[in-house]
């Protein structure tokens, strides 16, 4: 059986789902960040797959590169935020951080 677009999309869907699951369920902020990375990469797979099978040419792959760079920047900022949270609360358990409620 030939590997086609569908397979890629299924993989990326699973990746997206797992990422989302991680974002929603994990208590640790770091793990939530990892979930975000998964979601981003799911999107990357989609871009590359459509680039290969669709008629986007190299544009899809280019955007994927952008996303990787963006993810790196996002990780840097997010980690800085997490560090600040740790400094403020003494832990990174986001279950207990519900100041938005106020």
């Amino acid at each position: 059986m030939e590997v086609g677009l569908t397979h890629y999309l299924v993989v990326s869907s699973f990746l997206f789902a797992f990422g989302l699951y991680a974002i929603i369920t994990r208590k640790n902020a770091i793990l939530v960040l990892m979930g975000v990375e998964l979601v981003l990469n799911a999107a990357n797979i989609n871009f590359v797959a459509f680039s290969r099978y669709g008629n986007l040419g190299l544009n899809g792959q280019l955007i994927a590169l952008f996303v990787i760079i963006l993810a790196a920047a996002e990780a840097a900022i997010a980690l800085a935020i997490v560090l600040n949270i740790y400094k403020t609360f003494g832990h990174v358990n986001i279950d207990e951080i519900d100041n938005l409620k106020e």
Binding site: L20, I23, I24, I94, D95, D98, E102
Partner: protein, 714 residues
Amino acid sequence: MTESSLISLAVTILFLPLAGFFTVLIFGKRYKKLYLFEVGIITVSLILSIITGFVKLTSYVNDTIIRQFTWIDFGNVPSIGHLAVKLGVQIDNVTVIMLFVVTLISTLVHYFSIAYMEGDPRFSRYFSYLGIFTFSMLGIVIADNILMIYIFWELVGLSSYLLIGFWYEKKSASDASMKAFLTNRIGDIGMFIGILILFTNYHTFSFQEIFESISNGVVPFGSNGWLTAAGILVFMGAVGKSAQLPLHIWLPDAMEGPTPVSALIHAATMVAAGVYLVARIFPLLTADAFLVIAVVGALTSFFAASIAFTQNDIKKVLAYSTVSQLGYMVMAMGVGAYTFAFFHLVTHAFFKGLMFLGSGSVIHAMHHEQDMRQMGGLKKKMPITYITFLVGTLAISGIPLTSGFLSKDGLLAGSWAFGNLTGHYLIPIIGFTVALMTAFYMFRLIIMTFHGEPRNQHKYDHAHESPKLMTVPLIILASLSIFIFYTPNPMNPEAGWFYNWVQTPQTVVPEEARFNFMKSESAETENEHTILAEDEHHTTENHTKTENEHVVHSEMYNEAMHHVHVPGMILSIILASLGILFAFIIYQWKKIDPDMLAEKLKPLYKLSFNKWYVDEIYSLLFIERLLDLSRFISWFDAKVVDGIVNYSATLTRAFSRVTGWFDTYVVDGLVNFIAFINGFFGLALRKMQTGKVQTYIVYVVFSVIIILLILRPF
């Protein structure tokens, strides 16, 4: 002197006393001597009116000078056309004679009052009131339209009110002033309606223009009846002001005012204004109106004379004699003896002014004693007052050589002629009877006051002749009561200049509304001419027009008057002498005891003494009924009107209670309910707001899924 300077002179005469009034009223309290300004200004008025009269009666004796100006211009009024209210001044012979009479008596009264009112706390205010009275009276005299007459008419009423109630601390004086004012008001309502009838139909107030319209055949609302009504209604004003029969009650009470005021206002001038008004509207009176006026005048003169018999207050006798003489004048107007009515007005003004001032002199000497039973024998103490008073009394009784004889004789002859021509003999009979009565009660007055023995020795001892300021006016007025000022022939007034100056105006009412003897013959000839030759119609009309100007009131009437002149004169002399004789028999020689006579004729005496119970009847008929009405209205107010108000208040209260309940339970309930619902949902929704990012993400994801399911983009 030109006509326009005559007009300006008249206007100056009019406004001088007004200037005096304001000056003295405003500054009189500060400068005690300021009343002299008013006295001076009225003297100037007198001199100016003498000049005016002289110029008018020499240079313009046949002219009527009228100057008008537009007061209010209404512009173009729908269905009427151009409408403007004009005021103006009219100067004819009657006007200048009245100007002279009013200013002369006013001046004399001013001088008299300086002595009479000495020491009064409101001395200068008294003079300012005299000023406004003179102003308003002169306004009536020179008015050329009925509106101005009405305005000044009311001003005269006001000044009369002020002066009657001058000693307002006395209850009787303030009551009398109100009585005079209110009684006059009743007459004035009629006058006002009459004026309105005339204005509605002719759209002008000017006498001249109204007369012109009537002589062109325009009658109010197209009926002669309305013309009669207008005449009688305007005459009602005269009934009030001249104290004619139903409305005479105020004049005797008006004697509460200072005596010089009684002389000026309530004897000589103001009360004559009614007669003057009748003289002004004379041309528009119809036969019926004439008859009403004559009957009212005749009844008044008899009625008042009968009351004067028994009065003991010297001023009351004079007051009733004034009412009686005014009745004479009105009667004379009614029978068409215009000249003699006006003549009597003038002569009466002088001799009645004289007698009132004379009585003022007596009252002054007796220290404000007015009861004749306390007097007597004053002849020796006050010779000047006595002689002048006697002249006045002779004049009013109609004794030859006096002015009163001339005018009274003329008007009695006029009434007799009227009786001959129309068959209304009752009017001359009453007229002659009153002549007898007048002579009697006037001599009763003079005998009780001046003759015989003093009845009150104490007061008699203190009596003294009045100062010059009081006696000189008496002498002037007494000399004016002599015939020579009016005619060179003491037996025939028609030989005099007065008769030539005051011509009876030509009536303007339609032929069918006149007395038979007033119908003009020229009108008949005109008809004949018209039938004979249509083409000549125009010229004939012109011809008769010019003829009309020369036709006096009525040839037939004049002839009848000439016819009865001599018998009338003889009869009136006999009757006057009889009256005087009776007075002497009863009061001087005491052949008949007056008390016994009174006892014998008790019902008549009581009737006369109590003034025919007119005041009581009015009190019973009108005043009590008015009070009843007021009581009823007060009850209505208290019970019905207040009841309605209170009921509506209760209703409002009940209603507000309902709305209050509605407010607390329904409106507030609704608001609270909404708040409760909001709170309830808030409580429920609060649970969702965890503040945890992950929960929100779950919401977002589910929301997106739901939206996708709903929209189905793929």
